[in-house]
């Protein structure tokens, strides 16, 4: 993986990309949200202070998924009426990327699924409805109206001016997990599975006072 380094158009600090497909990053110094054009970086926004966070995961946390190792390169923080959660964007050693969601220390790894047809409109995906994608049956188990709260690090798409987002979570009866993301209007499907904290074999994690 070659790192490409440029400078923050806002403060001039060096900005590097760990992943070649990253579209957006956040300057670690001035918290400017930077979007990559052909050659330049363009400031499109500013990250407000992030809410108090109690995820054991942080930027640069490393771990294992299946036979691959990964490193956390970015994240999106969402808020909803029951609190907040993190979607950690990780890059694997084979060059692909995925998401490690951490909601109240329940860990789910998902990857963008190659499914575009047969995805329901948001209002149709009611609780208990069953859908089948890639030969797996999933049932809608939660509908969440979330608010974009902040970003950090590298993301595979531009994500900085969103407000309210609807997520529909689904589970199979064999441990698979799916999320329908309606943040761009058209649904985008992510599929994966819930994982044990210990199975992720995470390193470079945060410490908690008294633990």
């Amino acid at each position: 993986m070659t790192e490409r380094t440029s400078n923050c158009p806002n403060c001039g600090a060096p900005v590097s990309f760990k992943w070649s497909s990253s579209v957006q990053t956040v300057c670690e110094y001035c918290k400017s949200i930077l979007v990559r054009n052909d050659v330049d970086l363009q400031k499109v926004g500013q990250v407000a202070d992030l809410p108090p966070d109690s995820s054991p995961i942080q930027m640069m946390t490393e771990g294992q998924y299946g036979t691959h190792s990964f490193v956390v390169a970015g994240r999106i923080i969402y808020e909803y009426d029951q609190g907040s959660w993190n979607e950690w964007h990780f890059v694997m050693n084979d060059g692909t990327d995925g998401w490690l969601s951490d909601a109240q220390d329940e860990y789910i790894v998902t990857f963008r699924a190659n499914v575009t047809s047969g995805l329901p409109a948001e209002k149709d995906a009611k609780l208990g409805t069953v859908y089948q994608w890639n030969k797996v049956s999933y049932m809608v188990t939660s509908r969440t109206l979330a608010h974009y709260r902040g970003v950090e690090g590298e993301l595979p798409f531009q994500y900085w001016d969103k407000t309210a987002v609807v997520f529909i979570d689904l589970k199979s009866d064999h441990g698979e997990f799916a999320t329908l993301d309606y943040s761009d209007g058209d649904p985008v499907l992510y599929t994966g599975k819930a994982v044990d904290f210990d199975d992720l074999r995470l390193s470079n994690i945060r410490k908690f006072e008294g633990w």
């Binding site: 590097s16 220390d105 188990t141 009866d173 908690f208």
Partner: protein, 443 residues
């Protein structure tokens, strides 16, 4: 991987405490940023833990204070993971006009997340959220669920109401809120689903744990409350005992059967003596002895008596006498046979044949002393006596077989009784017992 930018060490996440705007009391937050609501320990107001102003979400009123059995802030290891008790809520359901209340403790580990302990009448469950949906083969909340190849039977569906809260929660919590809860049991486990409004279906898996184990895990000094009654997923004290005992009894019975068959097939059934006699009741005949015969080896002896009788009886005193030692085995038999025609129907009573088996007789030379008796007013009776050595004896087997089954039947009966008490508390209680349980005889 080379890093650009500041390589700052992120400090450990600190425990914080907030000031209750209701009473000014200090409120510790133990689950760091995960706390969504926190309840003030002094005035019991529900506070917004995510809000810098810690706004009051619900004031405490009219609720009955419930003291948690496990103090908030206690730490203990369950299934190898260290947890801290950070929240407590008391919830209740109403069934058949009766209110059943239980306590729910929220456990937290900053890496492993949240678990729960529930307590009802001294019965405890350790509960973790479920990631995989249990399957239902037929639709409906009452149909059984299947999880990891195990069948969970529907136990109860009820509306649970929160009546008291303390500590902190990673979700919105309010006194008075309700959720539809359904339990499916496969002792010692219970699958539970909770549906609150139309936004979320939560599944969890509980496993029965004793109060003693919890007290030990959290290092509590006093004694856990005693478990009262039978709880929905309480493992039966008989466990797989009935099955084991049945298997064991079956095995013994099989062995006994084999032994019996072996015994039946290897018996010699050697006829060592047979002779026909005529008895004249009118002759006042005294006893007489037979010719001697020999038993090779100690074994059972069968003595058969057959008499040509019709509406008559013969009573014989026998003595099997050892020629060398003089030891006599006395026994008497009565042979009687009646028959006739009454109102066009023929009938018979008794049998002209009799057979008796003597238990193990030592080897040696023996003879029979025979002393017949009969009705002096009737005629002569021809009869024959045969002695058969080494006949199979089935008595022991007929006695042993039911005795062998007794412990199995007893254990099964007690196990059924336990299961009956378990299911009496469910939605599927037998109709007869639910009416009687309302009476004075319960508790």
């Amino acid at each position: 991987m080379v890093l650009s930018g500041p390589k700052k060490e992120v400090p450990a996440v600190a425990v914080r405490s907030v000031t209750c705007p209701g009473c000014g009391g200090a409120v510790t937050i133990r689950s760091f940023g995960s706390a969504v609501n926190v309840v003030c320990g002094s005035c019991h107001s529900v506070l917004d833990a995510q809000d810098p102003q810690v706004k009051i979400l619900q004031k405490f009123k009219d609720a009955i204070r419930q003291n948690p059995l496990l103090p908030l802030g206690s730490r203990g290891k369950i299934r190898g993971i260290l947890f801290e008790i950070i929240g407590f809520q008391h919830r209740q359901i109403e069934a058949d006009g009766q209110v059943y209340g239980w306590g729910e403790y929220l456990l937290f580990n900053p890496y492993q997340g949240f678990r729960y302990l529930t307590e009802f009448s001294g019965h405890w469950n350790f509960i973790a959220p479920l990631r995989t949906l249990p399957q239902a083969h037929t639709p409906g909340a009452q149909s059984d669920r299947f999880y990891l190849g195990e069948r969970y039977k529907h136990f109860q569906t009820a509306t649970a109401k929160t009546t008291f809260v303390l500590g902190e929660f990673p979700w919105q919590v309010r006194v008075g809120e309700t959720a539809e809860v359904t339990d499916y049991v496969s002792p010692p486990r219970v699958l539970s689903t909770e549906v609150s409004s139309d936004k979320e279906i939560n599944w969890s898996m509980g496993e029965y744990i004793t109060g003693t184990d919890i007290w030990q895990a959290f290092g509590l000094k006093d004694q856990p409350p005693p478990a009262v009654g039978v709880y929905e997923n309480q493992p039966s004290p008989f466990g797989s005992q009935p099955r084991k005992i049945w298997r064991y009894c079956g095995l013994l019975l099989g062995l006994a059967l084999l032994l019996w068959i072996f015994h039946l097939s290897t018996a010699h059934r050697q006829q060592v003596f047979s002779e026909a006699f005529v008895f004249d009741p009118a002759a006042n005949e005294a006893s007489f002895v037979t010719a001697p015969f020999e038993f090779e080896g100690a074994s059972t002896v069968q003595v058969d008596t057959a008499a040509s009788l019709h509406n008559q009886w013969i009573f014989i005193n026998f003595a099997l006498v050892n020629e060398e030692t003089g030891k006599a085995y006395d026994f008497s038999r009565e042979v009687s046979y009646y028959g006739g025609v009454d109102e066009g129907e023929s009938w018979t009573e008794g049998s002209p044949r009799d057979s008796v088996t003597l238990p193990r007789i030592p080897a040696g030379k023996y003879f029979l002393r025979i002393e017949p008796d009969g009705d002096h007013t009737l005629g002569k009776i021809g009869y024959s006596v045969a002695v058969i050595h080494d006949v199979p004896n089935s008595t022991w087997f007929l006695i042993a077989a039911p005795l062998l089954l007794l412990p199995a039947i007893f254990t099964t009966w007690r196990s059924i009784g336990f299961e009956h008490r378990r299911w009496q508390e469910s939605d599927h209680a037998p109709a007869t017992s639910s009416s009687s349980s309302d009476g004075d005889d319960s508790e």
